[in-house]
Structures are given as structure tokens and as C-alpha cells.
């Protein structure tokens, strides 16, 4: 039986090498492109109608738009307006990647730590640069929670710095681990269906239920990734 980890293997489709660096177009790249085509295509189609009374597709696009706009308003406030496009893109990209991963025989690019980490580290660096641009050296006061007694500074500052530095790791690992674990679980239980013969009906039912759960998790993790990005931006803008 194939290993449940086999689904995560990167397979080159078009080998490309630039300056000695292997940047082949792989199955991962293919699903990233498909995510852009699906998310971009659907949203473009939905948005271009612009009907007074929206149809189904347009309603969905408007729902997502208002959902993200509401999220930004709640977490960042009115100052968050200008980050709307990038936050919406993060949400759309991660959500589409997660959902496309639920299609049988597809590939889940968000289940790769390098992909989630690349996104997380860029968000982390951008937010840090934003914080310094906004507050200058005063940004360091972020590492001292307000009301901390002076005697606690040697303890609190390293903890705060460490917690700040671990943000990209937790952001990346949360998404990657959720996606990977869900897909491994599905694969393992699906393996039992064939192995158990007639009684395979039980794991089959479980797989069906878990598929539903995984779709919820696909939404949830995209939401969590987005809201954390919003919270980090908020921290950079308003410190505490």
C-alpha cells in the first residue's frame, strides 16, 4: 500500500533551471496556478456583472468582500482599509489552495511548510518594517507590556521578543500542520476501507464525515491565517 505521505511528494512537470537553481514547474506549481485561475477567474466573473441585485456568484464574491472588510474593521479599524487588497488576496489564495486540496488526486500546496513559511516570513518582515516605519525606535516599546514593573524587565523583554520572533513559525506551522494532518488522516482511514472488506463501510462513512470536517478546516485555517495577519498589522500600527 502506498504511504499516506506519498500525496505530499513534489513531482516536476516541466524541469526549469535558472542560474543553477532548480525552479521546475511541479505539481505544486500547477495547483498554485490553478488556485489563481479558479479564485481569480471566479471572482473576476462574479465582480464584472456588477448587477444591482446580485446573482448567486456575485453574492458569494460580495459576501467574501464584506467578510474580509468586516474582519479588517474589527481587528485593525478604519486604518486597515489600505491593507484590504493584500489581506483579501492572502485569504483567497490560502482558502482556494486548501479547498482545491480537497479534490481527489489533487495536490495541497498549503500542506508544505516551505510554502506556508514563505508566506508567514514575508508577512512577519513586512509587519515589522511597517511597525518601525510607523513608530521608529519607539516600536521597541512593543516588547514591554504596559504596566510591567521595572524589576520584571529582564524577564519580560526576552519573553516578548521570543514570542514575537516565533510568530512566523507558529503562523506557518499552524496552517501546514492542519493541512498535512487532515490529508494523512483521510488517506489512512481511506486505506482501511479496502483492507476491511465488507466492514469497510464503517471507515468509508468516517471518511465521508472527515471530508466534511476537512472542508470546514480548510475555511477555518484560511480564516485563522488571515485574522492573525490582521492582528499582526494591528500590533504594528497601534503597538499594544
Amino acid at each position: 500500500m502506498a504511504s499516506p505521505l506519498e500525496q505530499f511528494e513534489i513531482k516536476p512537470i516541466v524541469p526549469i533551471e535558472i542560474g543553477g537553481l532548480d525552479v521546475s514547474f511541479t505539481n505544486s506549481s500547477l495547483w498554485m496556478v490553478l488556485a489563481v485561475v479558479v479564485a481569480g477567474g471566479t471572482l473576476t466573473l462574479a465582480a464584472s456583472r456588477g448587477a444591482m441585485v446580485p446573482g448567486r456568484l456575485q453574492s458569494v464574491a460580495e459576501l467574501f468582500y464584506e467578510f474580509i472588510a468586516g474582519l479588517i474593521k474589527e481587528t485593525i479599524g478604519t486604518q486597515g482599509r489600505k491593507y484590504f487588497p493584500i489581506i483579501f488576496t492572502i485569504f483567497a489564495f490560502v482558502l482556494t489552495g486548501n479547498l482545491l486540496g480537497m479534490v481527489p488526486y489533487s495536490f495541497t500546496f498549503t500542506s508544505h511548510i516551505i510554502v506556508t513559511f514563505a508566506m508567514a516570513i514575508v508577512i512577519f518582515l513586512a509587519v515589522t518594517v511597517l511597525g518601525f516605519a510607523k513608530h521608529g525606535m519607539h516600536f521597541f516599546s512593543f516588547f514591554v507590556p504596559p504596566g510591567t514593573p521595572l524589576i520584571m524587565y529582564p524577564l519580560m523583554i526576552p519573553i516578548e521578543v521570543l514570542s514575537y520572533l516565533s510568530r512566523p513559525i507558529s503562523l506557518a506551522v499552524r496552517l501546514f500542520a492542519n493541512m498535512m494532518a487532515g490529508h494523512i488522516l483521510l488517506k489512512v482511514i481511506a486505506g482501511f476501507v479496502a483492507a476491511m472488506g465488507v466492514f469497510g463501510i464503517l471507515p468509508l462513512a468516517l471518511v465521508v464525515a472527515l471530508t466534511g470536517l476537512e472542508i470546514i478546516i480548510a475555511f477555518l485555517q484560511a480564516y485563522v491565517f488571515t485574522i492573525l495577519t490582521c492582528l499582526y498589522i494591528n500590533d504594528a500600527l497601534h503597538l499594544h
Binding site: 513534489i10 506549481s29 473576476t44 456588477g50 511548510i113 516551505i114
Partner: protein
Amino acid sequence: MPQLEQVGTFPSQVVWLVITFVVLYLLLWRVVLPRISATFENRQGRVDNDIARAEELAAEAEGVLAAYEEELAKARTAAQEELHKAAEEAIAESEKRNAALTDTLAANADAAHERIETARKDAVANISGMVEDIAKQAVERLVDTTPDQGTVSSAVNTALEERTR
């Protein structure tokens, strides 16, 4: 775990992530999101417009209603006046006719009185001659003397005057 074993694929994954993400970002930022927000604005504008128009129409309708009521009140007043005038005219007319009728009746009554008076006088006049003759003959038979015509006349007249009063 391929995620940690296939380190050689990391550059490829990151490069394609950057390419696809940037493409999606540009598409959403430049095309999709402005269109959706434009749709929202249009809708809001349309709704505001409709509300404003509805308010305008409501005000207009109220104006029309007020004008109608004013017109109605005016018409009612005019009708009242007309009615009043007609009633007064009718009363005046009836009074005039009443007066005319009263006059006529009075005139008729007077004429009748006169006729009665004349008739009475005629009757008295007619009767006095006869009564004088009867009185003269009665006196002749009773006392066998012929009374003086003048005395009989005045006595009869006096008596008749007293009786026919």
C-alpha cells in the same frame, strides 16, 4: 516526510508561490476589488437616489393633498354661501308674496265691507219708505189722524238707526 526531505524543491516552490501570489494580488487589487466596491457604491447610490425620489414624491403628494383639501374647503364654503343665498332669496320671495297676498286679501275684504255697507244702506233706505207707510197707516188706524210726513220720517229713521246698528 516529503515536506522536509525534498529540500531541493524549496526554491521552485517559493518562486512559483511568489509568481502565482503576485498575479492573484494584481488581479484582485486592480480588477476584482474595485469592481465589487464600485458595485456596492452604485447600489448605495441607487438606494439613496430612490429614497430621495420617494421622499420627493411623498412631499409632492402631500402638496397635492393639501391643495385638494383647500379646494374642497373652498368649494364647500362656496356651496354654503350659495345655499344661504338661495334660502334668503326664497324667504324674501315668500315674504313678498305673503305681503302681496295679505294686501290683496285686505283689499278684497275692504271691498266686501263696502259692498255690505252699501247693501245695508240700500236695504235701510228701501225699508224706511215701506216702514214710513206702515207707520202712517198704523197711526191712521189707531188714532185716525194723518201724521205729519216729516215727523214720521224722522221717527222711523231714528228707530231704524237704532235697530240696524
